[in-house]
């Protein structure tokens, strides 16, 4: 054996020994990627320390993701496609799960979970963590679209929360005629060209009895009804029921207008309630939420569901530990701590009747009813392609530069071209 070969063998042995030694004795570090949680007290550090205490020799490093959903998605795509196993556990927006599962980036959890382990979660949350008949993530927090209203104003005019959009329009007329406050807007929602617009339009589609993607994969199964829904939304702006700036409004812009007392109705997610009820809020004690309205000759209103899941990277070196951490974070005690400390709703229906949580958030039982009724956005690996393609078309119909029929037809044509390549 020459000296060179011997040296190489020695180095190889040393390297191998180093690896083995590290795996056996050194502490294991799990990396958890998550979006920072807003709220009065971030419960996450405490939850992670609990996990470390229960698993000696394991450290968890929580690394914050970029701020916006788009940037988070981009971060994951670049890192997962680039095959860098830089993290073990990932917080995922529920709309990404089918895409990431199809790409082969997520660990298939189906056989690792107990037979009834998913039973305590919202069925719709489990559905959005499922793709191709297999489970890819554990539901962590839950969201549903709600109609917020000003209880003081509705009571003053003897009104109950509207069941249909037609009623809502009528109530806005009556209240504004009586209040004579030019700074009081009627119904504020999200019409900016972004994901939130797609959510709002989907809710209008469902109220009108149609959808974006049928069960068999047909795009715009009923284009006439879809166009009618867009025309109705445009009408809200044209008639002044919704302010002109709706076309630039995201969640926060609309939430602030309502929170400043400048609107009667608001479509938003559950997180807004805590902010309206916080000390110093001008609408404190004057806000309640109800189901989104339906349409007079259509369906009952339902909110779109959303939320975050916990998925495990297929390249994680510690899949068993990562799953243990995911279980810990989505367990009942952990979700209770998150519901109490941060403005995020649990994915376990039982917690909506939990005395400690109901004491803090009295509207939880009502939120449970609406969460159970909620509808998921289309569960498809092409969701982002779908959403990015329809956004400018929906926006064009809303601002009135395109007829709704035309916008629907154009969106369908573009999607057809892109999807033909991947289906």
């Amino acid at each position: 054996m020459s000296a060179g070969v011997r040296l190489a063998a020695l180095i190889g042995l040393l390297a191998l020994g180093g690896c083995v030694a590290r795996q056996e004795s050194g502490p294991v570090t799990l990396v958890f990627k998550y979006a920072r949680i807003l709220g009065n007290a971030d419960p996450l550090p405490g939850l992670l320390r609990e996990f470390e205490a229960a698993h000696p020799g394991v450290r968890v490093r929580a690394e914050a993701l970029p701020w916006t959903s788009d940037d988070q998605h981009q971060f994951y795509v670049i890192n997962l496609e680039g095959r860098s196993p830089g993290f073990d556990l990932m917080m995922l927006d529920c709309i990404w799960v089918p895409e990431f599962a199809r790409a082969g980036w997520l660990l298939d959890l189906t056989s690792r979970l107990g037979p009834d382990e998913l039973a305590p979660y919202f069925p719709s949350a489990v559905a959005s963590a499922t793709y191709d008949g297999r489970v890819w993530a554990l539901p962590w927090n839950f969201n549903v679209g709600l109609l917020y209203y000003r209880t003081d104003l509705l009571t003053r005019y003897g009104l109950r929360p509207p069941q249909t959009f037609e009623e809502l329009v009528e109530q806005v007329r009556r209240i504004r005629a009586g209040e004579r406050d030019p700074s009081l807007d009627g119904y504020v929602w999200q019409g900016k060209q972004y994901e939130g617009l797609v959510v709002n339009v989907l809710e209008a589609f469902w109220a009108g009895g149609t959808g974006l993607l049928a069960g068999d994969g047909t795009l715009f199964p009923d284009p006439a009804r879809a166009a009618e829904a867009l025309r109705f939304l445009r009408g809200l702006i044209e008639s002044g029921v919704s302010p002109a700036w709706t076309t630039a409004a995201d969640e926060e812009l609309s939430r602030r207008a309502f929170g400043d007392g400048h609107a009667i109705f608001l479509r938003n997610w559950p997180y807004a309630m805590d902010l309206f009820e916080s000390p110093g809020s001008v609408v404190r004690g004057k806000v309640a939420f109800a189901s989104l309205p339906g349409r007079a000759h259509g369906q009952r209103g339902v909110g779109s569901t959303g939320g975050a899941h916990l998925g495990i990277s297929r390249r994680s070196l510690h899949p068993v530990l990562a799953l243990a951490l995911a279980r810990h974070l989505s367990s009942e005690p952990a979700q209770r701590a998150i519901a109490l400390g941060a403005a995020l709703s649990p994915t376990r229906p039982a917690l909506y009747r939990d005395p400690a949580i109901v004491r803090e958030h009295p509207a939880m039982p009502e939120l449970l009813r609406l969460s159970l009724a909620g509808h998921p956005r289309p569960v498809t690996p092409y969701y982002l392609l779908l959403s990015a393609t329809v956004q400018p078309e929906f926006s064009a119909a809303l601002v009135g530069v395109k007829r709704p029929e035309r916008a629907i037809a154009d969106a369908g044509k573009r999607l057809g071209y892109f999807l033909q390549a991947v289906r």
Partner: protein, 289 residues
């Protein structure tokens, strides 16, 4: 060529080789790779990868969203560069005319330029806020700055001009300082008025530096991304979606690497064409001067 010359040439080649290799690895290779990608249907996460020839370009040729993005890019570039040049020159002249506080003015100008584009965009997001925004409060009239398809692009241009006009102003100011006083004195002796001095002396002497400023600003404006991405996300109705935003959406949001690369290649060609035209202009200017 003598042998000594040949040796010198070899040594010179050896000396520039690291630079050439670095440039090749960092720009030429990825550039060629992007062009190659643009000829494919490639969506890695769905396992799609096939040669498509000019299919992507054929689709773009009849794609209304692409042409809208191209028009938006052109309007944004023309609008913002023109305003930046006019306001930049005006600002430079104003600072030169100041007796006191020139340094302070320059520092204030540079503050805007030094601000990251995203921070500047966030600032304008608040200024344009429909109800609480300073601009609407001062105007006393609610303009739907970022939600009206006719107003959104001008609003984005305005935000960009605010941030980048100082670049033009500072370049021009530096040139103005270099114009000797006796030129102006001679003009005064010849009885030239203020306007004549401006149009016959100052502006012509600013010409070359302005051309350079316009070159830099045009190339930046053609690739503009962050300002509209933060302010409007390309909306409403796609009226503020530039080619780079469109490319970003295709590449990073919907992961269509082939299609997105085709858009990028077009942006690249556009930028190269403009740079080439300007460089010719500059060279012609040098010969004339």
């Amino acid at each position: 060529m003598t042998s000594r010359e040949a040796a010198a040439r070899r040594r010179a080649l050896l000396c520039v080789a690291p630079t050439l290799i670095a440039l090749g690895a960092l720009t030429v290779y990825p550039g060629i790779w992007v062009i190659w990608l643009s000829l494919q249907r490639r969506i890695p996460i769905f396992g799609v990868s096939r040669f498509a020839g000019l299919e992507n370009y054929a689709f773009l040729a009849v794609d209304p969203r692409f042409w809208s993005a191209a028009r938006t890019t052109a309007a944004f570039t023309l609008g913002s560069v023109a305003l930046e040049v006019v306001l930049g020159v005006a600002a430079a002249l104003a600072i030169q005319g100041q007796r006191r506080g020139r340094r302070l003015s320059i520092s204030l100008l540079l503050l805007a330029w030094a601000m990251p584009a995203v921070v500047g965009a966030k600032l304008f997001e608040w200024l344009y806020h429909p109800a609480a925004g300073l601009i609407n409060v001062v105007l006393g009239y609610p303009i739907n700055w970022l939600g009206d398809p006719g107003v959104a692009l001008p609003a984005v241009i305005l935000a960009d001009v605010w941030r980048t006009m100082p670049f033009v102003a500072v370049l021009c100011y530096a040139r103005l300082l270099a114009i000797p006083d006796d030129v102006y004195e001679a003009a005064q002796v010849d009885g030239a008025g203020r306007l004549a001095t401006l149009t016959r002396i100052t502006l012509p002497l600013l010409g070359r530096i302005l051309l350079l400023a316009v070159l830099f600003r045009t190339l930046d404006a053609l690739r503009a991304f962050d300002i509209m991405f933060v302010l409007t996300g390309g909306g409403p109705a796609g009226t503020t979606e530039t080619l780079t935003v469109y490319a970003y959406r295709a590449l990073f949001q919907t992961l269509q690497l082939g299609f997105g690369s085709a858009v990028s290649v077009i942006v690249f060609a556009l930028v190269m064409a403009v740079a080439w035209a300007y460089l010719r202009l500059l060279r012609a200017g040098t010969v004339a001067a």
